[in-house]
């Protein structure tokens, strides 16, 4: 009982279901707008990769989407200061290695959380369901090792 109670408190302490649902709905609106008007899938890794590798005349909209992403976070932070604060003192090797694998894996799987986990699932793609499952299982196993076996990060 004691353990269950502690577990419940741990979840409640961090869990933010209303803002998560509302923020998620905005992401759903964002991918809808890009698809309905431009015919494009709002997958951030594909958009970023295309900044370097897409045909020259297919790059400006990508840059503007990414600038918008930054602006959206900037505007929100001006309206609601300190709601989100940058993380400090996270081990640099985990960022560098992690970032490299995120980029490499996203290209190999042809998408990331936004492309597969939102757009692909919304399009009822079996590939995206498999990719999203792989992201999560692999991510959970990795965090288990990092936090509870090697204890490299809190």
């Amino acid at each position: 009982m004691r353990t269950l109670h502690t577990l419940g408190e741990t979840i409640l302490e961090n869990f933010t279901p209303i803002s998560a649902l509302a923020g998620g709905a905005l992401i759903g609106i964002s991918v809808t707008v890009l698809l309905l008007f431009n015919g494009r899938i709002a997958g951030v890794s594909g958009i970023l990769n295309g900044l370097f590798f897409a045909p020259k005349n297919d790059r400006l909209w990508r840059l503007l989407f990414l600038v918008g992403l930054v602006l959206g976070a900037l505007l929100f932070n001006m309206g609601v200061p300190d709601f989100n604060v940058p993380r400090q003192n996270y081990p640099l090797p985990l960022l560098v290695i992690g970032g490299f694998l995120v980029g490499f894996g996203a290209r190999m799987a042809n998408g990331c959380i936004s492309g597969h986990g939102v757009c692909g699932l919304a399009n009822l793609s079996l590939r995206s369901l498999v990719a999203t499952g792989a992201f999560m299982l692999s991510g959970m196993l990795t965090v288990y090792v990092i936090r509870h076996v090697l204890e490299l990060a809190a």
């Binding site: 649902l21 959380i113 919304a122």
Partner: protein, 139 residues
């Protein structure tokens, strides 16, 4: 011109969504992945929120022949569950679990002046270039 403004608008809405849902905070993402520790199921609720809009809108958009401004719909042509999909997904997951970041929150984090975003963008792009050099160099 019109499609460029739409891309900017779509990005802004996405960035606000990531901020409101706090998915821009990598520790919150790591807590979602930490099912035996400080588990925080918020990320699932973000996906439910996004999918409850996009499942309906995509079903409706799929009926259209062409987008409102663009020339054609750029749907993925791939349908086969192949090894690159699974291996790529697993590799991505390791990187996600090590850092707490996927590409959307990394870029949005620049709006918080996060130093981690700068490092992550450089590392992610290095991953893109490495993949493209290894597997796409013949194209």
């Amino acid at each position: 011109m019109k499609t460029n403004l739409i891309a900017l608008l779509s990005g802004i809405i996405f960035g606000i969504g990531l901020s409101l849902s706090q998915m821009i905070n990598p520790n919150k993402v790591l807590n979602f992945l930490d099912i035996t520790g400080h588990f925080d199921p918020s990320l699932i609720f973000v996906m439910v929120g996004a999918l409850s809009v996009a499942l309906v809108s995509f079903k409706w958009i799929r009926k259209r022949a062409v987008p409102l401004f663009g020339e054609s719909f750029q749907w993925s042509k791939k349908t086969v569950i192949d090894k690159p999909l699974i291996f790529g997904g697993v590799i991505f997951g390791v990187g996600w679990g090590l850092s707490g970041y996927c590409p959307g929150p990394v870029v949005a984090g620049l709006g918080l002046f996060s130093m981690e975003s700068v490092i992550m963008i450089a590392a992610i792009c290095a991953g893109f270039f490495a993949y493209n050099a290894l597997f796409e160099s013949n194209k």
